[in-house]
Subunit: 348 residues, 2 copies
């Protein structure tokens, strides 16, 4: 386990990319060489990795040579082009985009939920959608005790989910409105400052947007329950970072609230946060920058004897994206799975 690896971050300059860089350093991921890759536009800028400054390079087949692990967070179209090339060059790719998530040959992994799935990879492991990860780590400990029958979720998604430029736009828009101006949105389709709107991902013919269908299909795949009944309403709210979710969950029998609290309190990746005396529950301000997803306001659904209501806030960039990807990489290291695919290729 004293081995170290040649790692590349693809999309290093984005909101998730910079968090990946910080987490790799903070969590002392065993790195022998670190490459920061991005589009030619971002090449030449440099980013700090601990005390070192690393220059961002334009991604190319040459830059992928000899890399053991690629953490990709540059969007689906970039991943579709470069993940297969990285795999062909012998790397394992942990991909944060939606490009491969529903590919049956690609494991979709949340380490607290389905770590064993990572072993089945054929070069690419997909990192799930942010809202799906947050909901998954909160519901999984309950699902282990009494299988979930149905989930009705409404989300409160921050600007960070649309990237660093959307976060900047929320700030400049807010300032403009406070100045009495009427800003024209550029990154997001509608004004977000002091406003909110249903998630603007492409709409499916059934009326659900892609973000909502990710919560449905990805949760089914991660939980290993292909027919799990899930419905979602995803909404973008004027919060900078950290998503929140109101989750109504239905079981086949009553689920005592006290037991649900104990399970959440003991589960990895989540933290029970409830102070009923002062109406203090998870909120984005507290969840931002935290590894754990904050879960609280667990209560018996008064409309359904077999239901629970719960509320969560989780850092969309950390557990919702970068942290989960790094945890998958740590899982590979712990199981001595990293570097092998490259060895397998070079010795073939």
């Amino acid at each position: 386990m004293s081995q170290s690896y040649r790692v590349a971050i693809l999309g290093a300059t984005g909101a998730v990319g910079t968090e990946l860089l910080a987490l790799l350093h903070q969590r002392q991921f065993p790195i022998s060489d670190l490459k920061l890759l991005a589009s030619p536009r971002s090449a030449g800028t440099s980013l700090a990795y601990g005390d070192r400054e690393i220059t961002v390079e334009a991604v190319s087949e040459e830059t992928l040579e000899g890399v053991d692990l690629v953490l990709a967070s540059a969007g689906g179209s970039i991943s579709k082009v470069w993940a297969p090339k990285a795999v062909a060059a012998g790397a394992i790719v942990i991909d944060n985009s939606s490009a491969f998530r529903m590919d049956p040959t690609v494991p979709l992994v949340v380490p607290e939920i389905n770590p064993a799935a990572a072993r089945q990879h054929q070069g690419i492991i997909a990192n799930p959608n942010c809202t799906t990860i947050l909901m998954g780590v909160a519901l999984w400990p309950l699902h282990q005790v009494r299988p979930i029958q149905r989930v009705v979720v409404a989300t409160y998604q921050s600007a960070s989910g649309a990237g660093a430029r959307a976060m900047a736009e929320l700030k400049t828009q807010s300032q403009a409105i406070l100045n009495g101006e009427t800003p024209v949105p550029e990154i997001l389709p509608y004004p977000l400052a002091f406003n909110l709107f249903p998630h603007n991902s492409p709409l499916n013919a059934n009326g659900y947007c892609e973000e909502e269908l990710k919560m449905v299909h990805e949760t089914r795949k991660i939980f290993g329950v292909p027919d799990l009944r899930v419905t979602a309403t995803c909404v973008r709210v004027p919060v900078l970072r950290a998503h929140s979710e109101a989750i109504n969950v239905e079981f086949g029998e009553p689920f005592p609230v006290a037991e649900a609290r104990e399970l959440i309190a003991a589960a990895p990746g989540v933290q029970l946060l409830e102070d009923w005396s002062r109406n203090y529950f998870p909120m984005p301000l507290e969840a931002s920058g935290q590894d754990d997803v904050l879960v609280g306001r667990i209560r018996q659904d008064i409309s359904n004897a077999n239901g629970l209501e719960l509320w969560l806030s989780g850092d969309q960039i950390r557990k919702g994206a970068a942290l989960n990807a790094v945890q998958i990489a740590e899982l590979l290291v712990a199981q001595d799975l990293l570097g092998r695919s490259r060895s397998a290729v070079t010795t073939a």
Copy 2:
């Protein structure tokens, strides 16, 4: 019907009070005399009613003498004291507080839903909670065709619901955060700028807050379905005005989406707003200042063959409070019910 009435607004200087004043003028409510009443602290200030300036008076038994109609929006504790005195003085009180809403002798009225209930009043008519009114006008046309079995709702409630000072606090907080400062909340319990939190009304032993229980119990009373299954999660969001709601509604049989759309499009008090080609649906920015509740994103629940999902935004101060109260008053005028209670008292 050419009769006109002596009207008093109690709580005239608040967010809802000033809107009541504007609506009475705008809708040409037949007024022979208008009194603006408030706490002694606000007495002496003056407010515009059309071209006139009316001086706010401290509420007292003398100021209520001869008044036909009191529109009260000064909070529950004020209403509990003054509504009975106003009734004793011969007035009908339309009360915007929660003080009398669940009193079995007090009608709880949304004119589009249960106008006949207004006739049963014994002096006080209650105006429902804002989130309840908005949800009610959207669901009632569907409930008429196929009775609703269960509702799961998550709200996105603006600062206006906590009053004019909360709206001001959201602005000053936002400016402070944009300046890099860390503001201390004064009106709301937690920072709202770029943040959100579960509604901070008092928590019931069952884990629901009062705002959520209002949605449950008031909807049952207005719809006349005492055992209607409703569960709610209420959340305060950094929006200035207009509440939004993600509503999952379950029927006893499938409800075709096209039929639901037609019913919403034809119903009073609501407006169907859906442009699927550009992902354009109700949002607070568009709902603010509008009379109609904007409803859209109506879709078949993919987790339940008998379910629909829908989304709405409505002006919390207008249809959620002041407009509904004025509409109740108009209903009394149209049915020639106003001024009678006073006559009944004076001729007794």
